[in-house]
Symmetry: C2
Subunit: 191 residues, 2 copies
C-alpha cells in the first residue's frame, strides 16, 4: 500500500533493526483518514474470503481493525491482554510472550463472541515474531471457528512471524513489508 | 440517542447499581455499524465547537472515538494507561483512580501530540465517577490546550462524574444517560 509506505518513510523512525516507531500516525496519534484507507485495503484484500467476523488485539490493533470491519459490515471482537489467569469459566485464554516488552500476558476472550462456523479475519498493527498472531489463532480455533485470513498493517518480514504463519498455511496479507531496517534506515520488500 | 438506548435495554445487563455490562455490542464484541452511528452523533453534537483534535483513553474508548474523529476529519490521540511513573521526559502523566478496578494507573501522553492552541474533544465509553475524564482534562490542559467538549457513550448520571464536569464548566454530552439501575433494571433520564 503505497500511501502507507510513503508515510512510514516520511515519519516513521527505525530505532534499530527491530523497533519501528509509528506513534505519530498509527499508534498514539492516529491519522484517521489514513487508517480508513488501511481498512479499505484490508476489505479489498479479503473480499473473497467469506469472512464472518474480524478479531483484533487491544489496544493498537483496534482502530485499523474497526476501520476494516465497519467497511466489511462485520462485527469486531477485541481480544484482551490480562496479567493473570482468569477464574471465570466463560473466558478462554492462551499465554503470549511479548518480545517488545520481554514478558508474557494472557490473551483473553469471552468465548461466546466467536462461534463454531465463524470464519475469522485477524487484524493487528504489527507482525514481527508472530507470537500474538499465533495466540489469536489458538483462541479462534479453540472456539471451533476457522481463520480465514490474517492482516497486518506493518510486517517486519526480516523477523520470522510472516514465514511461520505462511508455512502453517494461513493467508497473510501485510500492507507494508519491511525487508530490512536499522537506525535511520528502512527498506521495503518489492510488491 | 434512541438506537443506543434501545440496544442497552435489549442486550445490556445491569449487575447492580454500579456495573452495566455492554460487552456484547460496545466493549468486547463491537457492533461496528452502531458504533459508526455513535460517531455520527458525536460529530453532530460538537459540530459548532471548533474542535481540532479528538482524545480518548485506551482501550474501550478507541472505537467510538475513532468513528467520531474520522467523520469529523480530525486526528485522534490515544491516552495510554501505564502501571508506573515513566522516566521519559517526552511523556506527561497524571494519576487516575479506577473505581471499577479499585486501583490507580498513570494516564500517559506523548506530549507533542497535543499542542498549545488545540481545542480537544475527549471521548470515552463510560462516564461514572469522572476520574478518567478529569485525568484526561488535566493532561490536555498541561499541554496548553483547551477542552472543547466531553463525549460519553453511556453516562451513569446517578454517579457524580457528570455533575462534577458540568459544575466545572465543561460541555458534556452523553448519548445514553442512566438515571438509575439495579440488577435486571435500567431507567434512562428523560431527554
Amino acid at each position: 500500500m503505497q500511501l502507507l509506505k510513503d508515510r512510514i518513510l516520511a515519519e516513521g523512525r527505525a530505532l534499530n533493526s527491530e523497533v519501528l516507531k509509528v506513534d505519530m500516525f498509527l499508534n498514539q496519534q492516529l491519522d484517521t483518514a489514513l487508517i480508513w484507507e488501511i481498512g479499505t485495503e484490508f476489505a479489498r484484500l479479503f473480499k473473497h474470503s467469506a469472512i464472518t467476523r474480524v478479531v483484533t488485539i487491544e489496544a493498537s490493533g483496534i482502530a485499523p481493525a474497526y476501520a476494516a470491519a465497519v467497511q466489511m459490515r462485520l462485527p469486531l471482537v477485541i481480544l484482551k491482554k490480562a496479567v493473570s489467569i482468569a477464574m471465570d469459566s466463560s473466558l478462554i485464554q492462551t499465554e503470549v510472550f511479548s518480545f517488545t516488552k520481554q514478558k508474557s500476558y494472557m490473551l483473553t476472550l469471552q468465548k461466546e463472541y466467536i462461534r463454531p462456523g465463524d470464519n475469522v479475519l485477524i487484524i493487528d498493527d504489527f507482525l514481527a515474531m508472530g507470537e500474538a498472531a499465533f495466540g489469536a489463532i489458538s483462541l479462534v480455533e479453540k472456539c471451533g471457528a476457522s481463520v480465514g485470513g490474517i492482516g497486518a498493517v506493518i510486517c517486519k518480514s526480516h523477523q520470522p512471524g510472516l514465514k511461520k504463519l505462511k508455512d502453517a498455511g494461513y493467508d497473510v496479507q501485510a500492507l507494508a513489508k519491511i525487508a530490512e531496517m536499522d537506525k535511520g534506515y528502512i527498506r521495503f520488500e518489492e510488491d
